[in-house]
């Protein structure tokens, strides 16, 4: 366990080494939150509520969805692709640890860093600029905390899957980019799932994506009842378990036919 915690620490240090990325990140996220806030205010216009959500809930949704994204989002799929293409994965495979586990920890290190140095201060600043609503109910906060950890795992697992495909496809830049768009759209980051047409909602119910952004954001804005929240969290947990299977299968196949690039 020690080694995994140490890896989180190392990732922290690496994030610090690239502080400039971090500042530009803050800028990009602020612009996104601002843009979606104004967009939604325009859509709401005089209306009090759409699909059961008030304007204030919506702006809170937008803000928390983006701030949560800072936590669960990572680039480990792209990192894996690079490591596999350059043959660096050879070095990883001679270490007495689980490569995928280590990658997950790196993602977590990155996530925790951004949570404390980005999401929390960012949320405070945004709450001064836009009217947001924070729940006073501590159960909401606990649900949210559990939910967001599960979001991290679902998103990271999908990233691992995409990363492993490099072993088979070799050039999967397109796939990685497509995956990113799919997740931003179908996770409910840009539009809450409840705003999708009904047939689409039905389809999305059977996909893991809404567990990434929609669920924690709905919990945070108190748009779910306690029961709905618990159900959604259980669904997230089930997805985490289900996703382990394809990852392990692909990983075993990949290792068998692995060819390390370069001398």
């Amino acid at each position: 366990m020690d080694k995994y915690i140490e890896m989180i620490r190392i990732r922290f240090l690496m994030m610090l080494a690239y502080r400039t990325n971090y500042y530009t990140g803050i800028l990009i996220y602020s612009i996104n939150i601002g843009a979606y806030y104004f967009l939604w205010s325009a859509i709401y216009g005089e209306k009090d509520a759409i699909e059961g959500m008030s304007v204030i809930q919506m702006s809170t949704y937008v803000a928390v969805a983006w701030m949560a994204r800072a936590f669960y989002f990572n680039n480990i799929d792209r990192e894996m692709a690079a490591e596999i293409k350059e043959g660096k994965v050879a070095v990883e495979l001679i270490r007495p640890y689980n490569y995928l586990g280590m990658k997950t920890m790196q993602g977590l290190g990155e996530g925790i860093f951004r949570l404390f140095f980005f999401s929390v201060p960012g949320m405070v600043i945004v709450s001064f600029i836009f009217p947001l609503q924070f729940s006073a109910d501590w159960t909401t906060w606990i649900f949210f905390a559990v939910s967001i950890v599960l979001s991290f795992f679902i998103n990271t697992q999908i990233n691992l899957l995409t990363g492993i495909t490099t072993f088979f496809l070799f050039n999967n830049t397109g796939l990685i980019r497509a995956k990113r768009v799919v997740i931003d759209l179908f996770s409910g980051l840009l539009i809450p799932i409840s705003f999708f047409p009904l047939w689409a909602q039905d389809v999305l119910k059977y996909l893991p994506f809404q567990g990434i952004s929609y669920v924690p954001s709905m919990i945070f804005t108190n748009s779910f009842s306690n029961n709905e929240a618990i159900q959604a969290i259980i669904m997230q947990g089930i997805w985490v378990l289900i996703l382990i299977i394809p990852i392990q299968v692909l990983w075993i196949i990949a290792k068998k036919q692995l060819i390390i690039q370069g001398g």
């Binding site: 140490e6 190392i10 690239y18 043959g87 070095v91 007495p96 060819i259 390390i260």
Partner: protein, 335 residues
């Protein structure tokens, strides 16, 4: 004595895809691709005893790195058997990799953006090295390799030689009984090379560490390894002492002459016409070299003849260098 490495009939084949030419070819490639099966390592067998230092040499593309990748368990062999440190490198991965250290000369195993000591710290945790073990072992490694001043620098700011010394230290954090070095001295200056050689000798002495080393710098091998395994197109063409390689393939001696007077190759050929000698002239330095069989009698006769006829300024008798022997073998094959 137990064997650190046992390899039996090891084989690795790669599929080498070839692209058809032209647009039509490209479309056909989409459907079916042409490939040839290329054996990179072809039925090799050898054993390495604990504590041996073995030089693993061969031309570019001979299959050295491929072998090392199979021995370390990151490539699955097509067929054959590998036992390293009493284990199958593919089973029991975590336990196995704790018993080996690896340095790939061309790629870094340190984390690029963080200070060297942070990488060390992580590796220490990864290999579960205790503080006492670390302190007693690593402080010595750090001192011998002279990397103390580099520890707080990020890896990307190190020069190649500085990085390579750190890589070596990193591979030794868990003090493994077996060390694989794939071109560890590539691109290093003479001083760093010497330092690394000294260091390898020392740990081999101190801990009886087995070392398998590939390099294109034969002076590395001469300095370190008593035994060489030579690979050519995936096959072992020589496995034995470096010395007997020299005795067997060292093709005679070279005697270099410099003369006080003007001499031509014709003169020399005339003087030594009765014995089997080949003369060459280095135009620039006016050095004449006689190539003769390694036979003391013959050589002294040759020198006597030359000295009797010409005024000699300098004579230098040379054995064929290992480099030359190896070059000859690469050129012509061993037979």
């Amino acid at each position: 004595m137990t064997d650190a490495i046992t390899v039996r009939n090891l084989k690795k084949e790669f599929k080498a895809y070839s692209s058809r030419s032209g647009l039509k070819g490209a479309f056909r490639d989409l459907l079916t691709r042409n490939y040839k099966i290329v054996p990179a390592v072809n039925n090799i067998s050898f054993q390495v005893k604990q504590g041996e230092m073995v030089g693993y040499i061969g031309e570019n593309g001979a299959g050295k790195s491929t072998t090392i990748k199979m021995l370390t368990g990151i490539l699955t062999p097509t067929s054959g058997e590998v036992i390293v440190n009493g284990m199958n490198p593919h089973k029991d991965r975590e336990k196995f990799v704790r018993t080996i250290g690896v340095v790939f000369g061309q790629r870094s195993q340190l984390w690029w953006d963080i200070a060297v000591q942070e990488s060390f710290r992580l590796l220490k945790k990864v290999y579960k090295v205790t503080d006492e073990q670390y302190d007693s072992h690593m402080s010595h490694v750090i001192k011998t390799l002279d990397i103390e001043p580099l520890l707080d620098k990020p890896v990307r700011k190190l020069s190649l030689g500085q990085r390579m010394r750190c890589e070596l230290a990193a591979a030794l954090i868990h003090n493994p009984p077996l060390l694989f070095l794939d071109e560890p001295t590539i691109g290093l200056d003479v001083l760093v090379k010497l330092k690394i050689r000294e260091f390898l000798k020392e740990i081999n002495d101190k801990y009886n560490t087995t070392i398998l080393l590939t390099t294109h710098d034969l002076s590395d091998i001469e300095a370190l390894c008593e035994r060489v395994v030579m690979l050519d197109e995936g096959k072992i063409i020589y496995d034995g002492a470096l010395k007997s390689l020299k005795e067997k393939w060292g093709e005679g001696k070279e005697i270099e002459f410099q003369f006080l007077e003007d001499v031509t190759l014709n003169d020399l050929n005339r003087i030594t016409a009765s014995s089997e000698v080949k003369w060459e002239k280095d135009e620039k330095k006016a050095i004449f070299t006689a190539f003769a069989e390694d036979n003391d009698e013959l050589i002294s006769l040759l020198i006597a003849k030359v000295v009797a006829d010409l005024k000699v300024k300098d004579i230098d008798i040379k054995e064929t260098s290992t480099e030359e022997i190896i070059r000859n073998i690469y050129d012509r094959g061993i037979s």
